[in-house]
Symmetry: C2
Subunit: 388 residues, 2 copies
């Protein structure tokens, strides 16, 4: 197995834009390819993460992204597991390079969520939940995650203020991220005073509806040499797992699938949770960050909400990882099919020392957790590192 | 690279059914697993081809198919390139087994097309075409393919009767296929007298709207031994390519992407067109079969319509391949995301001598061509063979 490197990354502006998906993708690609000599000539294949055909009445994103990138007669396909689609694209790229199937693969994500307004996005996202058991009762993403949050606060020493602090932290991080959709801080009262979407989750517990695209070039050493790229961020761990979709068929306070995916990724990379310097974890709702911090082994069960505390004030067992330095889905933005790749964009910037005001000193190893459906219905976990 | 074998196949009933996608999938899986000892225990990963979330307001088919198959904490994902989705799933399974990433992978396809009626299917399929250039003018699949058919008949010695004979042949084949949606013959007049959908294409030039699912188990020799399967149909060639989507940006009478994909698959398999005994080619419209027969090297350009002639009456250069012994998309049925795998089902039955009244004597090598979007916007080509 040969090493697969994240060599170059790009992202579009994130937010409520006037741009169609094609232009969002082109912006991401232009950034990813900006400093490279003729990168299109080295790309052997594409994977495109995209959630919903509803936003722009468009499928066939594999073909389209290839065409937009100026590539023809190469393999390309769309992959989808709702919000985990972006990291699926990354996983496929990493696997192909590791296995020697291809030398260089472009992993992309595109989502034009605002095309149908908030209601359109809510309806499109409802398709990610179980049709027979859940959709017919009118369930939505916030209402499902609210069940997890309520149970978590019931079982453990956690409350709405703890969850609010996760949003506050992520907004603070986003204020230092020029890519973020919301580059401004909020305080706990702002979160707590915002309207309930589905109790106990309030507006500021929920990631926004975001337009955006991302592009990540994954390649082997030979291509890195050819392109003259010395900053090689290596994907040393890469794992995807699926678990039950319906809330009725799952543990409400333990994300087994995420635990398995992260453990697989750590094992591949030969690391422990304490080796992780930064982590981008899927905070579509604040409760997700708490659950995933536990699945990642950063905190004991029931203590995931301590992501917001100073390391010195955390429980025994907490590592000193920095979580969602980008601002996370909450404040950087959450363009569904691109989100998993935006996590890789942040990790690449941090691990190559390009993260500006939010740079974590000495960051060498990153964990990415991207999820789709309810919680760990689909999980992709990646370990990226500059450690050889 | 280790050999990847198609070890077992299954399909649901095909047609206008009362069953939801879940039940269609379960029927396909039950057949694929019927004669195997505990096959679920050997499956390492799943790929699911599915075109549209509109039919059942459902995405996340990777997670769902895994759950329905009784699998948990394995990798699974949905892949999509419109009607090529099924063969994308097959390609991914073959690649994973060949590369040693997994020992056994389940390739599945599910489509519940009738949920929104013919109008719903037409609308859902419109998303496969170029949004900015084509959708806004109200274009549909038949109208785009009609342009190709009209140009073909203009440039070459072919007319509506030639196209009609392709439908007649495929209905005749389907009459001998207990899996087919239309198990009845039609004559040329029936085709020619049917209503125009988009001239020169008439109702009987078009594949139907079909509910259906298929499941194909792809595995290495070790798993074949473990399951006690001696009939090993080997995927010796497997290639996917994409080409331009918009009709304005393509050659109307030459499917370059299909040519490249088939050539790649032949090269991998080390064979020539004349080595192919049976071919399942994507006849979503009769014109497709003509174009793809040429791309496959069975006929000189402009002579693809001769699929309907007796081998002794064909042009020089024609091979004696039998095309669409299953009845093809036209008469076996065309459940979009499952179609590419239904082609593999037919090939497996033919190559293992289980094709009953339609058995081609001595069939040892099959070519499958599955397409998505307009013509070769996405093409997957596979060579399956019992020749070691």
């Amino acid at each position: 197995m040969q090493p697969a490197h994240v060599l170059s990354v790009g992202a579009s502006d994130l937010g409520d834009t006037d741009l169609p998906g094609r232009d969002l993708f082109s912006a991401a690609l232009a950034e990813a390819f900006a400093d490279l000599p003729d990168p299109a000539s080295v790309v052997d294949a594409l994977y495109v993460g995209n959630q919903s055909e509803r936003y722009e009445n468009q499928i066939m994103y594999g073909t389209l992204a290839a065409e937009w990138a100026g590539l023809r007669n190469v393999p390309a396909e769309r992959v989808e597991a709702c919000a985990a689609a972006g990291a699926l694209a990354l996983k496929n790229a990493v696997r192909d390079v590791r296995a020697g199937v291809h030398d260089a693969v472009l992993a992309c994500g595109i989502e034009k969520m605002t095309a149908g307004g908030t209601e359109g996005a809510t309806n499109a996202l409802s398709a990610a939940f179980e049709r027979a058991l859940e959709q017919r009762s009118g369930i939505t993403a916030p209402s499902l995650y609210a069940m997890l949050a309520r149970r978590y606060c019931h079982e453990f020493d956690a409350d709405e203020t703890d969850l609010a602090r996760i949003a506050v932290k992520n907004h603070r991080n986003a204020a230092a991220n020029p890519r973020a959709m919301f580059q401004r801080e909020v305080d706990v009262d702002t979160v707590l005073d915002s309207d309930y979407v589905a109790p106990p989750l309030k507006l500021f517990d929920c990631a926004p509806v975001t337009d955006g695209a991302a592009a990540v070039l994954v390649a082997n050493d030979e291509v890195a040499d050819e392109l003259g790229i010395d900053d090689r961020v290596t994907a040393t761990g890469s794992s995807v797992t699926v678990n039950n979709l319906a809330v009725a068929e799952r543990d409400l306070t333990y994300v087994e699938g995420a635990d398995v995916a992260v453990t697989n990724a750590y094992d591949e990379a030969g690391i422990d949770p304490s080796d992780v310097d930064i982590a981008e974890v899927h905070d579509a709702f604040t409760i997700c960050e708490a659950l995933l911090a536990e699945a990642a082994g950063f905190a004991p069960q029931g203590h995931g909400v301590e992501t917001v505390r100073d390391p010195s004030e955390r429980s025994d067992g907490w590592t000193d990882v920095q979580i969602n330095t980008s601002g996370g889905l909450k404040a950087r933005g959450h363009p569904i099919g691109a989100t998993g790749l935006l996590q890789a964009v942040e990790a690449h910037e941090q691990l190559t020392g390009r993260a500006g005001d939010r740079q974590v000193d000495g960051a060498e190893t990153a964990l990415l957790i991207n999820e789709g459906g309810l919680a760990d219905a689909a999980t992709a976990a990646h370990v990226l590192t500059t450690q050889s």
